[in-house]
Symmetry: C2
Subunit: 196 residues, 2 copies
Amino acid sequence: MDANKENSRQKILDVAIQLFSKSGFSNVSIREIAAAAGIKSASLYYHFPNKQSIYLAVIEHSFSNKAAVFTEVLGADKTALERLELFIYKFTEIMSKDENFRRLLHREMLDGDEERLKYMADKVFKEQCIAIGQLMKEVSPECDPHMMTISISSLIIHHLETAPIRKYLPDYKPEHDQPDYIARHVYELLTKAIIK
Amino acid sequence: MDANKENSRQKILDVAIQLFSKSGFSNVSIREIAAAAGIKSASLYYHFPNKQSIYLAVIEHSFSNKAAVFTEVLGADKTALERLELFIYKFTEIMSKDENFRRLLHREMLDGDEERLKYMADKVFKEQCIAIGQLMKEVSPECDPHMMTISISSLIIHHLETAPIRKYLPDYKPEHDQPDYIARHVYELLTKAIIK
DNA sequence: GTCTATATATGGATAGAC
DNA sequence: GTCTATCCATATATAGAC
């Protein structure tokens, strides 16, 4: 039946995102994906023409709908500074939960070709970047919106992404891994100068 | 002669760091490394027992001597704030020049096992983290030294590392890629609150 | 130290039955 | 839609000559 076709396709994508996120494109075999999806590798070729197309479907599926999440927060009926705070907390929370997305993003930054990077820029980031840039100019008119936007996302993503190594670094405390702690740190870093 | 042995070994490491940095461990073949080093793949096994050992040698070679570079800057006879500024500019400049190191680091964060992450923490970062943490407490006694240290390095590394995609993002200007511009942005972000 | 030749394994992909 | 069987390319690694 038709339901099986969609079921299998979805199952393949579900296991593939996990595997690709964990190990990267070339460290995941067709056989591995098929086994995790509960079918034989030949059957997988009924749903996708080749390995590359699975990966691209994973990227597209994983990156779509990310842009829309923050539109609400960034357009809320609050002061600019309140919206900034809200965005930082929301962004940290969402990024903290979606490790697959974070790692795929990370991998694409290293190995994505020009076409894929442009796709990500246009379809995943552009809309939010404009909104955050706008917000930053409201908060601080003379700032560089491009640099500030990158800085904010960098701070949040990097604190989350460095968790595996930070625990071996000086002054580490378990609460450093908690989304709210990270969000607070980032918000205060932006709004309070370290010198009085 | 003995010189040839060391020459070949060094040549292999030199080409291997470039290839591993560019494509990652599993996307580089022994044949590729051998060809780039000007020998046949069988000859490569005279110098290294297997592919993994080449990679580990590359990591060790590439990551050693990184820790010492900043000791001078961080120990300079200046005010804490001046040392912070000096460190940020120096760190940005060095990271900007050594793309191989940056990308290997990036890859290790994704794929490094516990042992390699611990090695990196101890041998590459620990010493500097302590120095920067100390410096930050001098500049701002009530700050969280662990979070501040990660934040500073994140900001710098991420601005450099996102260069390939930033050019497709809103408000991008070519000077955003220049080390001095990035360093200035980071220093001002830390020292000037975005709200007055 | 470097070579040629080759053993051996694994992975992507296809053919054709059910 | 999924299977079994198989082709073919590529990769790591070894054997043994020079």
